[in-house]
């Protein structure tokens, strides 16, 4: 194996001091023009690549940021990751993605690895069930929580989604179309987001004077399977004529059920959650609660690149919005 090309090896090659090489390569003016150019040329030829490690060890912080998400097949995470990655490229940041599978141990492990390589910042979707988080203590690692917020441990910055208004609008929208028995599919109240969304749903019902009894709420660990099962159950034994979804996966699963049974917007009106491309071209367009992915991504990056010291903890929240599309059936 051809040994590494270093400033020293270049210096030897050229019969000069490694310092001159260093200066030449960093365009330091204190080098004779000829020397500088000779060095740069030779470095190029030899395939020199400066060592990030050697620079990092001296404190020159490496431009690495981490992204910890459960997975990247979920449309929301994929979109976020994509936008965020683009933004990182633009700022010359290297993005390391770790998949946590919503597992706390995996999350911690990933966080540790990021600290080892002196990452500048990390954007995390914190795993739901969690006891503590000691990791962020006094490290240079700027921590930014995405979507979910873990309240234990040191306070950290957060970028959140506020979907309450959108959910309320969804209910009002369905009510306006004549629906009187509206179902809600969402996460259990144990999850903070689940609790909030359910509350918004109920607030929506209130706002149009529908009783809680008129509605059906199915709550369970959010997954496509859950959404699918729930939708099927509603189709079979309930008087619900419309569904509001309180989660990405749930929405996909429920939509799938309606499409497969050809009941979408026939027996069952539907308001999805999230906005995969194909929502807009299925059945004339699926009405949905749209999460502002791009804003979340650029907000997260802004926090990272913010010059305010690492001590500056910021909180940002972006409103989801109801996007009304085609074919919301009446009653």
């Amino acid at each position: 194996m051809p040994k590494r090309v270093t400033i020293k090896s270049i210096a030897d090659d050229l019969g000069i001091s490694h310092m001159t090489v260093s200066r030449a390569l960093s365009d330091n003016p204190n080098v004779q023009k000829d020397t500088r150019e000779a060095v740069q040329k030779r470095a190029q030829e030899l395939g020199y690549v400066r060592s990030a490690a050697a620079r990092a060890i001296r404190g020159d912080n490496s431009p690495i940021v981490g992204l910890l998400v459960p997975n990247i097949t979920n449309d929301f995470y994929a979109r976020f990751a994509n936008t965020f990655a683009e933004a990182c490229e633009d700022h010359g940041l290297q993005l390391i993605i770790h998949l946590t599978k919503d597992d706390y141990a995996a999350e911690n492990e990933a966080m540790l690895r990021l600290r080892e390589i002196q990452a500048q910042a990390v954007v995390t979707v914190p795993a739901p069930k969690t006891d503590m988080s000691l990791l962020d203590a006094g490290s240079g690692l700027k921590n930014i929580q995405l979507i979910r917020q873990r309240t234990d441990g040191d306070p950290v910055s957060s970028v959140l989604v506020d979907d309450s208004e959108a959910i309320i609008h969804a209910v009002q929208h369905l009510h306006a179309l004549g629906h009187r028995h509206i179902a809600y599919l969402g996460a259990p109240e144990a999850l903070s987001s689940g609790r909030q969304r359910l509350a918004a749903f109920q607030q929506g019902l209130n706002s149009v004077h529908l009783s809680a009894e008129s509605a059906v709420t199915l709550l369970d660990a959010p997954s496509q399977q859950m959404g699918n099962n729930s939708a099927h159950r509603l189709l079979q034994g309930s008087d619900a004529t419309a569904i509001v979804c309180g989660g990405f996966e749930i929405s996909i699963g429920a939509l799938k059920a309606l499409i497969e049974t050809n009941t979408l917007n026939r027996e069952m009106a539907f308001v999805g959650y999230g906005d995969p491309d194909f929502y807009s071209w299925i059945d004339g367009g699926i009405t949905t609660i749209q999460v502002p992915v791009d804003e979340l991504a650029s907000s997260a990056l802004k926090i990272i690149t913010d010059e305010t010291d690492q001590s500056g903890i910021e909180h940002h929240s972006f409103a989801a919005k109801l996007v009304v599309r085609n074919s919301k059936q009446i009653g």
Copy 2:
């Protein structure tokens, strides 16, 4: 800012040598049990994190692998990235994702950054239009080309898809259903994959004794837009009754056009390319050319973790397969 906790600072704190700390932390048996435990405890308390840079600088190679893809919203890339990332996690590898937007300059830049941090390997979807690639010269960086293959520069490993058979099958399938005027949407012949797929399509026509004149082939830079436009054109002025797609984006765009115009499997039979989840539950299921994403990902990782020296160049190819689903209309 609290200065970094190092083995030396721990050593000072404990009044021992930094080597003892080093040994204790790496579970070296040559340390008194008491000492070891005391050190580990103190390190924990102080929030010690070992420096990857310091290790990297000594040659202990850092477990980082890169993935260079145009984007991550494309279903194929997203799936690949996800599977690949999972595999990386399993092997304790850190995955750095760079988005190249199919831009050669961006690709080179990303490659450079990976070399700077002494990444072990990189999986790349090479940008199409490209002159040269000098970067991989004698660096410890194992290079693996994904899907596309760039022939210039040093030879590198590759993980490719062979979709010829599947495309031929697609034509035969449509022919068996009675279609006599089949359209093909694909990339221009300038791209190697475009050329190959088109050839396969024509071979398919041959195999069922359809003349080249009976078919329509629309070739252009692959994009959703292109697929969409092409499909619309076919619907308006052609005698084609079926479409075969030769690309992911094209497939999405064309499918969108058919769904929006409600002509899918009515006026126009359809064979897509790639297999996003929703293909299987739209209109009873979209028949499609399925690319074995997971196999590609694990194959790529296998090459990386392969113990055969970095000199070992491997080439792997995986067959795409035609997945016949519902509702392929006859004539």
